[in-house]
Subunit: 354 residues, 4 copies
């Protein structure tokens, strides 16, 4: 309820502040007997990790995950998987610039109002560092759901938008460039643009597109827990996300029903897929695809005015090493949350479907 | 879990198929002592009801709600509120055109695959008729949250988009026209356009904007259950919704951090509100606003080809009375779901906030 | 959360006060395609119903259930089953004796303190009338779990205790007498005793034993949601229940480990069954058996002193038609709650077990 | 759902096997600003710890808890509290005697059947070692609920039963003897008896009584989530528990209503307290008291016959250091689970009560 648990049957509970001793979680409900490739989990963490390229924050965090339970002789046991990532970068630093003043468009102000108190060393619980725990659990979910293929990639940075349909793209190129855009030419433009933004000490937003292939028919529940509703919630729970659309999305608004309807082939597949692989909240076996909009990161390396706890105006400046654009590092997070949603519905379908 | 319950503390469970004996629900967790205006609840239902104007479906359904429990001497008792809306329009009709064949972009196909079986008289549980129960519960939530102001309105129909900022609009005009657009000129254009679409036997999509004013600071939870994540899920659970964005939304992608950050005033309010009233998943006291994209309704009154259960191609035709554009009737549904989300978080804040 | 929902996957939400328009519920998560015998559901309700024999309350309540959804052409559809039992016995009676004063050992006082307000016409939500909704849902659960055999019976009334082991009893005799004790001789004694108690205007407690046979191995979860923990909660949620024990129970305290351990047969069954069919919270395939203790009903037909809302001492008297002993009518309720627990764990095992 | 989470608002999720790297958990929903005495938490763990006296297992486990998050500058922050207890006693021992055979009345057999696979090094997840995580979270709950007084003690070991009413006892004596019985004379008898049982290599059961004082009126929910139902579930979820009764319990069965009813004093307290401080599932402000029955531990140090995975009969023998009677060490676990239940209902009451 307090919002640190995701999922019902395949259920992740996380803990940890950006500057505390460790972050981590408990993944409960993972079925027994799943072979776990620990290296692959660490690979996913490395995709999210700071310092991996010139266009992300240069902070150094090894982000090594330790597992405490639930995996035995290389396989899940069906019992909860406890894990932690120790923070090695805890500097007893100078936080005076954020302890008593509120950074604009961060959560500092609302935390103080809600909790009367906050861990002022960095973003605390609202830091994107928390998403590392999601990536660990999502990597396990991916291994559980190995027959489904989940590919996320960057499709827009600022005004630079990849106009291609996902079917025209080669997903094997996603990891070939630091932007994680599977179009080499566009990726180069985006990379240059992000470097320019960084030089200005500024930040820029972006869009991640995610495609799920080989989805079994029948995942999702008809009313409140429609598959796309839960996917939407999962994406909107990621830091900096401002919008979600699936299938025809906001563009679909301008279409007529006669165009938008997806005619059936005799085998139950459809000729078009404006539905985005989901009808009535339930997967129909076609590819699921959706877009996730990310705002520009709030931390800019420019002087700005803000207020302190007493409401006095103060002038301050973001410090150090920030992400000029969050989407390259957010790609594995989008995939992780997608995998967590699918794993939960997959188990539910086992229980309920005919 | 099976997806017919919404909310945790202020919790609605619904039942009912479009052509069964009744639809209804149980609203649990409504605090005791709230004065309930039953007429106001019926008013909300009437806003959603078929047949209310020339641009919506002409089906006649009185949609009269009966309360069975939880309200005594005009006030809630703190016990569950059971209610039902009896279906008076149950024709023992001819359903042969949909019993054995699948309407494109409806849920018929996936229901048969998921459940092995379906109530083929209309859309069953996937019918938008189900949303009447949400409107009843939402109307109670609104009365519980009477200090907050929730206004939804139509801001786009097909390519006709209201380009005004919500601050320039007069919400008292929303109910002055059948489209529910608070700009008289644009409303007239939209109405004409919807009539044209209807004549073609076709349908068109639209966008609803929702604005919440007088929100207390501190609603929402920091990680998975961010306030906008739950609002997004609530909206995406409404039939025909394809997208959700809040605050700067998809447009915000193209902004730089230095522009997008909302500078503080000394009193903690912000000079701009790209954040959409929510920071780090928690309300900051500014107006919350979001957009919801609806696809064109799948039922068109034109002949079309589809498949039957055996995969044979059949030619059929939508019948009768349909909604050429769903957004005018969806306005109270958007408001109802918004109220349910807020009521749930309001109770949670009472339990947890400092 | 507010306590009117039971179960996670096979989930019942109920509503209704003793003297309101109707009681009922929504049963969500019942798998599709289960054949439903409506007459059998009504039979179960009739076993719980007032007025069925000389030793229960003589109130007349037809308790006829109406189904609104989720059952089509004699089978469940997988969608929620909405149902109601209309109250036909709503007298606009004289409630002044309970409106402003508190009956001892009833919930009147705590309801007023908790909710600031209560429906004073009878017990409201704390009335055992609420359990009729449980019996309806439980009857559906029984049909879903038809391979398991659930038999509850009265094993003690006041000091009259059936000393036989359940294996020595013939369950087909349970319904042969109004006490629901499958030992004809003891049943006669109990019946006489209850009649004596009634003549005094008094009430007496009792014990119900429940036996579940043909339980599949592997139901239950290892830590907090042990199968017997959830059975215990289910039983303790029934009005007037004061205790629960399973397997060796409170007697087992006095045994040594060497006696209490259930030695295995080569086929995995055990030679003894002090474990009560559950080990480590998980069913082992042996019979599950447990006892449920019921206190004497609080409503006695004798004058008594109590207090009113202002704390003044008042003298009053229970009225009318009460149950001298609750256990005969509680037998179907114990079975219903047992079936609901088993159905929930059965679905969970489908999702999670290897 | 998979059973490793307890509570809704004040919510504990645990992980860890007896012989894995660590056990621990995530406590979510603890309100912000609570001062935490870490030493007091460790004290509670020490009460549960092996090796503390001559009548418990002589295993050496330091059981030192590390906190990772959620506590800052000595106070809770409102964010999840992650913690772990590293296992220092992991011997790469010889488990061949339990790897392929099933210990009677342990969970080995059902785990293999349910999960197809188990961590055979000790009891895995079914080991009572898991309860250390409960004690940590319960110790925090106690500090949150500091105005309520929770005292558990041993009231029976085998046939040795403390016949005194709890009001006649001095709770300050509980920790004065290794049995944790607040009657010095009876404690000595129990201690001698446990030593005798241990010499035989056998084990014996017992009863723990728990008393909660200073409970506010209005905790608990009326129907399925009655306060005593959740307390019952909490107790039955502890390893080796076979029964639960509160207030008059199983003895109350033999009382008449006229005796059992608790007459009111003018201030709303009652002259007797057969209700055990709970009426209609809701606390009435009187002391809550209940008994919990524990079976004899299954591990006996005597040769016994059992079966292996193939169903062959094998002769084996329990090894090493076991608990001859579990109740002395279970006292802090009963208190911890009690505190967790109360904390959850306390928060719920803040949200819902008038």
């Amino acid at each position: 309820m307090a919002g640190n648990t995701f999922g019902n049957l395949f259920k992740l509970s996380t803990f940890g502040e950006s500057h505390g001793a460790a972050i981590g979680g408990v993944l409960d409900g993972c079925p027994p007997g799943i072979e776990i490739d620990l290296e692959e989990i660490q690979n996913e963490l490395n995709r999210r990790k700071p310092g991996q390229s010139a266009i992300v924050t240069q902070r150094k965090e090894p982000d090594t995950v330790e597992f405490y339970s639930g995996i035995f002789e290389g396989k899940t046991t069906g019992t909860p998987i406890g894990f932690a990532i120790h923070n090695t970068n805890q500097k007893s630093g100078d936080y005076s610039h954020i302890k008593d003043s509120y950074r604009p468009s961060h959560a500092d102000y609302v935390y103080d109002k809600k909790y009367g108190f906050r861990d002022y060393r960095g973003g605390g619980r609202s830091s994107a560092r928390e998403t590392a725990s999601r990536v660990v659990a999502g990597a396990i979910a991916k291994q559980f759901l190995s027959s489904m293929k989940i590919n996320a990639f960057v499709s827009q940075v600022g005004g630079l938008k990849l106009e291609k349909n996902y079917q025209e793209l080669d997903f094997s190129l996603i990891e070939s460039n630091p932007v994680r855009c599977p179009d080499t030419e566009m990726a180069a433009k985006m990379e240059d643009y992000i470097k320019d933004v960084r030089k200005e000490g500024d930040t820029i937003g972006g869009v991640i597109t995610c495609v799920i292939q080989n989805v079994p028919i029948g995942l999702g529940e008809p009313v409140f827990d429609k598959l796309h509703a839960e996917l939407g919630k999962a994406m909107l729970s990621i830091n900096a996300v401002k919008g979600f659309e699936y299938g025809s999305g906001f563009e679909g608004v301008m279409m007529k029903g006669s165009e938008h309807n997806d005619a059936f082939n005799p085998d139950g597949t459809t000729k078009t897929n404006f539905s985005g692989g989901i009808q009535g909240g339930i997967s129909n076996g076609m590819d699921i695809y959706f877009n996730v909009a990310f705002k520009p990161v709030a931390t800019v390396i420019q002087p700005y005015q803000t207020i302190d706890k007493e409401g006095n105006t103060v002038t301050t400046k973001g410090k150090g090493r920030h992400d000029p654009c969050v989407v390259p590092r957010a790609v594995p997070i989008v995939e992780a949350m997608t995998a967590l949603v699918l794993a939960d519905y997959f188990l539910l379908a086992k229980a309920i479907n005919s």
